[in-house]
Symmetry: C2
């Protein structure tokens, strides 16, 4: 659920006067996206997405996000293309919020991704990483390892409300990860949130990546570790090795991992699980019931953390150590 | 907010196999409609709305609603046209719920309707009433005068929680309305919920009526009274006589009121205000916070009830007694 801000026809017409996207035929608030308000527009020139950036998004970050989408689209990555206003800008203001219009991507996100989808998302992630290498802007990843301790400090006293012992368990994991986090792996632009709802398909063909609002400059292999968490676990929290193998094969077919990246994958995957556990835990404990922010169960990521703790090598995720490392 | 039921790509593909509407390109849950889950579909043949009927809708009523839309569309009324399945049916099942696909109507609902919009909605309501005269199915209006007492019995003990004195005030109004409700005005199919969010416009041109899920067989003039409540009050609860005049002129230009209908308009308008007050009050008191049912303030209709109590004649709503009565 994610229309926080309703907009009326008068302010919308005034906003659209700044664009050359044709005559407005309809606008519908869409129930996707967790952070912002999104409308699907039909005009006589096509379909577009209008996004109103709500308070969880820092408006100083918008030029990075918009610039990244422009850069990636230019490089042939299928992602929404920000539409320029007549005055050349890509960000305007609507209903008191920063707002942008991007092209609409056809495609559907997979509630039940298959092995083929996992392969395709690995491939697309690697292509995105390569395409982003010469993107000139930087944005620190506030939700990388250095950001976890402050999040945890705000939640740890009540963690045991979710499951007895979760406080001590998480404390130990966090200390381990802070001590073991790799310092010098290849970096670049990462998506940082490439979950199934951010990847569109038409059949088995990947038609686009969306929602770059967590994108930042960080370790590329960490992005892959996020995807292992997001795509390769089943609803019963078992790791699907066939999907892991496909995801990694898709990725390394485009961008082989370095030896150090491969060796770090278990730590990175464990860190990625902790990162999503922490933000879910924070919301679980702090967002009031009945808010429009959908609260997701942090235990789904505690289960992943426990899995990753037992992993000794990237081979256990499906990486072919003899083939997929450069 | 109104996507109660998420659907996955597998069950959706199976459902769409029953239709001949082209190749699915995207489906987005849309945040409109209060009772059901609605998806906007894009296919290579156009746009459609997929509705999953949630538990507030009685599935035995669906043939009436669907049949009515077919009937009205056939008669030239701009409303969604139910799409036939390959097997001829118009209702299927998806995610354990009855589901139907209708054509998508371009247009926008007016958050801030103008006088011109009020005239257009009056005109369209009258055309709908005429077009419905030979519709052969009947559906009792469960939310007409005989349905108010049971609703009230479930809410009256707690009405004073909303405003002290509301219990006695409503009791008196209800008793008055039960005693004064007109028995023999012209009847037919009414929309019964023709609020601004159910009427689409392209500029000042009315492009369609939607959401027939309260439609029923009742007094035609009562439908007009609902519209007076829905379209002609300002946000400060003042009645806008210019809008009232335009709405009534639009209606009577197509279907002049009978003398008895005109005389009954103040009672009907008072009843319509009570009807919406009662359902809002019921939800206000009974729907838990944080439910996806959006709770609207019953006091907005208490304010209208108080206004209508002081009205002596339809002229005070803007009816030209010498011209608009047949």
């Amino acid at each position: 659920m994610a229309v926080y801000t309703d907009i009326n026809e008068i302010e919308l017409a005034a906003f659209l006067d700044g664009y050359d996207i044709g005559c407005l035929l309809s606008y519908k608030g869409i129930a996707e996206g967790v952070e912002n308000s999104n409308y699907l527009l039909h005009t006589d020139k096509g379909s577009f997405i209008l996004t109103l950036y709500e308070k969880r998004v820092n408006r100083n970050d918008l030029p990075f996000f918009i610039g990244l989408m422009q850069h990636l689209a230019q490089k042939g990555i299928d992602c929404p293309l920000p539409v320029h206003r007549k005055d050349g800008a890509t960000i305007g203001e609507l209903a008191g919020r920063p707002a942008a219009i991007v092209t609409f991507l056809e495609g559907m996100w997979m509630r039940r991704p298959t092995v083929a989808h996992c392969h395709a998302v690995g491939d697309a992630l690697a292509r995105m990483h390569l395409a982003g290498l010469d993107f000139s802007m930087r944005r620190e990843n506030a939700l990388s390892v250095s950001g976890w301790r402050p999040l945890w400090d705000n939640a740890k006293d009540r963690a045991d409300e979710v499951e007895p012992g979760l406080g001590a368990e998480t404390e130990a994991d966090l200390a381990f990860l802070e001590a073991s986090w790799p310092a010098s792996l290849p970096g670049g632009v990462i998506h940082a949130d490439l979950f199934p709802d951010n990847v569109f398909f038409l059949g088995d063909r990947l038609s686009g990546l969306i929602d770059f609002y967590f994108a930042s400059t960080d370790l590329l292999a960490y992005d892959l570790a996020v995807c292992l968490n997001a795509w390769c676990f089943e609803k019963d929290f078992s790791f699907n090795l066939t999907k892991g193998t496909a995801l990694l094969r898709g990725y390394t077919s485009v961008r082989p991992l370095g030896e150090e990246e491969a060796a770090a994958l278990p730590v990175l995957a464990r860190g990625a699980a902790l990162r999503f556990m922490l933000t879910r835990l924070y919301d679980w404990l702090n967002v009031p019931d009945g808010s429009f922010v959908v609260k997701k169960d942090p235990m789904e990521y505690v289960r992943r953390m426990r899995f990753h703790r037992q992993i000794n090598s990237a081979a256990e995720y499906g990486l072919a150590l003899n083939k997929e490392i450069k």
